[in-house]
């Protein structure tokens, strides 16, 4: 439309400087334009306005759609899974309006488990949620099906939904995607994850290496030793430390074996006569060998004590105990865990070494020892909670809740299984008393852990103080809303 550009060009500089000429206008308008030009009642500005108005109408009246035979859009392939029910879709809409990522994740998990897809109208909002919250990406991609994969081709922010295999994602994904897929593979197939990492190790930078090693702790085993030993010779201090730290978690690693050998010589269980030789008792003896290999102090063992309660030798032994699997003591003393714990607790130095035993138990994830320590130790150790069976976790969490409320809540929110009603009640009573420390987002964030039957107990969590009571009443309404959405999700996928 060159004529319209000519009109604009004239308008830009003004009729004072230039008037549009006939050859700048379409021939179809010539007759009308000459009539305008002949009108001596109006000045050149009005003549231009009339020509512009005429050209505008000519332009608008002559619009034709663009004809392009070759422009096509490859349609989305047919879905292989079925769509979710209308009720499930409605719950999803309600969840989206609540902005609760855990509830959204919960909904997506149910849909994935039932091999169902979200209806197309909600795919853009789910892909947008996935783009914002990386942890949802894989679930979003699965639940958006072929349509989501097709749609994401047109928006680079949504490219996470492109249906790539885990290995493709590992090789070509974003750093966040690679970490996620590496974590998942380390859980499902630890050796495959190790092989992947070994293949790309040389190309990764130090920070990435350290980040992957952090994830490598999942399902760590003897098979990882040779890779970790080579990683422990890396130039980067960060990578080196991370690799050595991981090696120390493997009982058969050379460094752990070395520590065990040192401990075999340093801690002895001796039978001593008691009551003028009428009876005997088992006594623990702690003493470092006369010569200790100085190289051990290059593996992270400190030579000097930083605690007044420990002598330097005791401190070295403490660190060694902390770094060997607790099962070592069973073979060293030829006794069961309960007896070992008793021996340590009865001895004045042994008692000081108890925290080291607890750390070792947590380090080597020894569930049997965790259970024994929890039951037979004089002190309750929070770090052992994750290693206990769910029932025992619940038992100890409830038993020691009044003593360590914040620690227990901190641990409880990391759980993957729903809390019991009793534990939830304990947590809620604490929250109701401390409303300023726990905002609404706490409930939204951990709704997947909150059991539905707690609804009946909410009133019992009400604090006596009037001002707290009102706050708890409002919070209760919010909790009920979240739980209702959770229950509706379950119902929608199981009806």
């Amino acid at each position: 439309m060159e004529y319209w550009s000519n009109i604009i060009n004239t308008a830009m500089i003004g009729t004072d400087k230039k008037m549009i000429s006939d050859n700048e206008l379409p021939s179809a308008l010539t007759e009308m334009v000459s009539l305008i030009r002949l009108n001596d009642q109006i000045d050149k500005e009005e003549k231009f306005l009339q020509i512009a108005a005429l050209a505008l109408n000519y332009r608008q009246a002559g619009v034709q759609p663009l004809h392009k035979e070759t422009v096509r859009l490859q349609p989305s392939p047919a879905e292989e899974k079925s769509y979710c029910s209308k009720s499930a879709l409605q719950v999803l809409k309600d969840i989206q309006s609540e902005d609760s990522i855990p509830l959204l994740k919960f909904w997506l998990q149910q849909a994935e488990a039932k091999r169902q897809l979200v209806h197309p109208e909600l795919i853009p909002s789910l892909l947008a949620a996935g783009a914002q919250t990386k942890s949802l990406q894989i679930l979003v991609a699965v639940c958006c099906g072929k349509r989501g994969e097709w749609l994401s081709r047109f928006n680079e922010l949504w490219n996470f939904s492109l249906n790539q295999t885990a290995e493709q994602l590992w090789q070509t994904g974003t750093p966040e995607q690679r970490r996620t897929i590496f974590r998942q593979t380390r859980i499902s197939d630890p050796s495959l994850a190790r092989v992947w990492l070994q293949q790309t190790w040389a190309q990764e930078d130090a920070n990435t290496k350290a980040a992957f090693l952090e994830i490598f702790a999942i399902n760590i085993s003897e098979a990882d030793i040779s890779f970790l030993e080579s990683a422990s010779t890396e130039k980067s201090k960060k990578v080196k430390e991370e690799a050595i730290g991981l090696l120390k978690k493997i009982p058969s690693a050379a460094v752990v074996q070395w520590y065990q050998r040192e401990l075999q010589q340093s801690v002895e269980l001796k039978k001593e006569k008691a009551l003028l030789g009428l009876s005997s008792k088992l006594v623990l003896k702690f003493h470092l060998p006369a010569t200790i290999d100085e190289a051990i102090f290059k593996t992270g063992i400190e030579k000097l004590s930083n605690d007044k309660a420990f002598t330097d030798d005791e401190f070295i032994i403490y660190q060694l105990i902390r770094s060997v699997p607790p099962a070592f003591w069973q073979s060293h003393f030829s006794a069961g865990p309960q007896t070992v714990i008793d021996i340590f607790q009865k001895d004045s130095i042994g008692k000081k070494m108890m925290p080291a035993l607890v750390i070792a138990t947590a380090n080597f994830k020894d569930e049997a020892w965790a259970s024994n320590l929890s039951q037979h130790s004089e002190i309750f150790y929070m770090e052992l909670l994750p290693l206990l069976p769910v029932q025992q976790q619940e038992h100890f969490s409830n038993k020691f809740f009044a003593q360590f409320p914040d620690n227990i809540i901190q641990f409880a929110v990391q759980r993957e299984t729903e809390w019991s009603v009793e534990l939830t009640k304990n947590i809620f009573i604490h929250i109701a008393k401390n409303p300023y420390n726990f905002t609404r987002s706490f409930f939204s964030q951990y709704i997947h852990l909150i059991p539905a039957p707690i609804i009946a107990e909410l009133e019992k969590c009400t604090p006596p103080e009037e001002h707290l009571r009102i706050m708890w009443s409002n919070t209760s309404d919010y909790i009920i809303k979240l739980i209702t959405l959770k229950v509706q999700t379950l119902k929608a996928f199981h009806e």
Partner: protein, 433 residues
């Protein structure tokens, strides 16, 4: 009740009302409830000692609630409607209590009063005098506006972006004084051009030419036919008496609400309801102005079929209308649509010949596919002809997701060479975008 949950939620005045409404769509919140073909009612336990009485006229979609909320409809109205749409079978009571029947009869009385008020005689002489005085004011205002336009054209539009808000606002205010508020809006429209975007010059010149056409049309109105004169008067800013409109014969039809667009300026919300008459094959634009805190008369939600009589404002191509009577809400009806873009452009060309100045119009076009060409999105018909999408960022993703690259019947609003999709038929259900 033929409303989907989305349609009910589209009635909500804001997001907070939607959320609260959803919370109230729960049996535990309602002390009593009931429904029949005409009305839906319920008593919601609020924070007060007495429950709030909520009632909804299902025929004309009107809400009433005894709660103190200034929002309209309030959360109780929305909650009750959502609750009913989810669990109709729980509404076992069919006999409306006294407070409901009272409200319904008051509504009928009000309608009757309106009719009697409409019948009051008008002082024609005084009216003619007022009109004459106004015409003089407008003519004076137009003379000034003409000078202003010519001044711009003489000096060129190159420096217009530097003129600032006041340059346009002063002339707009002058037009308000001249009792030509329509022209004032057109001048503000010219000032609102996005001077930072590429091609602002064309949009600005379009607006200048349109203003010039209107003032020329008004000056030469004696040579125009009656409908064209009415269109010009509308552009100038003459209001049309709604009472007079209501006296005229309207078009009774089952109207499909294609889209509801709301714009809030200061404290007034302007609702633009785009309707399509399924039997008459006519399109309508019903405007509603809502002052903040007050409820509107009409409660339309996209996708809803309304049995109503619409009275159209006189025009060469009538589009703007008022609802004369609304009798019921219906379920889906069959209708015909534009076959392709060629038909749309032919209609537009026809309109151009008759109405050189006009706004966007709605069209329902069959089997359009969104396609990408030159990094822009277009809507392609079965003949491979296409038009560019307007405001593509607003609707493209939902449109693409629903379409999946397949053709769909689509409602669009636009003119010339750009159209904004506002709704599609997905599996025989109308979905707004």
């Amino acid at each position: 009740m033929p409303f989907t949950e989305d349609q009910i939620l589209a009635l909500a005045p804001d997001e907070a009302s939607k959320k609260s409404g959803k919370d109230l769509a729960n049996p535990s919140k309602w002390v009593s409830k009931g429904a029949n073909e005409q009305v839906l009612w319920g008593e919601a336990q609020g924070s007060g000692s007495k429950p709030y009485q909520t009632q909804i006229d299902l025929q004309q979609i009107a809400f009433k609630c005894s709660c103190p909320s200034r929002k309209f409809p309030c959360k109780h109205g929305l909650g009750l409607m959502l609750f009913y749409s989810r669990q109709q079978k729980d509404f076992t009571s069919r006999d409306a209590p006294l407070w409901v029947t009272d409200w319904l009869s008051k509504r009928t009385e009000k309608d009757e009063k309106k009719v009697s008020r409409e019948e009051k005689p008008v002082d024609k002489a005084a009216q003619a005098k007022r009109q004459q005085a106004r015409q003089q004011k407008i003519s004076d205002g137009i003379a000034e506006l003409r000078l202003w336009l010519k001044d711009i054209i003489r000096n060129g539009i190159l420096n217009i972006p530097d003129k600032g808000f006041g340059y346009f606002e002063n002339m707009a205010k002058r037009m308000v004084d001249a009792q030509a508020p329509g022209l004032a809006n057109m001048i503000r429209g010219a000032g609102d051009c996005n001077f930072y975007s590429e091609g602002w010059q064309s949009a600005f010149m379009d607006q200048l030419a349109a203003i010039y056409l209107v003032i020329e049309g008004y000056t030469n109105k004696a040579h125009l036919n009656e409908p064209a004169q009415q269109d010009i008067k509308t552009w100038i800013g003459f209001t049309q008496s709604q009472e007079e409109l209501k006296v005229q014969a309207g078009i009774t039809d089952t109207w499909l609400v294609l889209s509801k667009q709301s714009i809030e300026v200061d404290t007034i919300t302007t609702e633009r309801n785009w309707l399509y008459g399924t039997q008459s094959n006519k399109y309508a634009l019903v405007l509603q102005f809502i002052v903040s805190g007050q409820g509107g008369q009409l409660t339309f939600t996209p996708g809803m079929f309304v049995q109503a009589e619409l009275a159209f404002y006189p025009s060469i191509a009538p589009l703007r209308a008022i609802v004369k009577t609304q009798t019921a809400t219906n379920s889906a009806a069959h209708f015909t649509v534009f076959q392709n873009w060629q038909q749309v452009t032919e209609t537009e060309t026809q309109l151009c010949a008759e109405m050189p100045v006009r706004n966007e119009r709605p069209f329902i076009i069959q089997q359009l596919i969104p396609v990408q060409f030159n990094n822009q999105w277009w809507l392609q018909d079965e003949d491979k002809k296409m038009m560019q999408l307007k405001n593509e960022h607003k609707s493209i993703w939902k449109l693409l997701a629903l379409s999946g690259g397949e053709a769909m019947n689509m409602a669009v609003i636009g003119k010339e060479d750009k159209y904004e999709p506002v709704g599609v038929w997905y599996k025989n259900e109308y979905k707004t975008l």
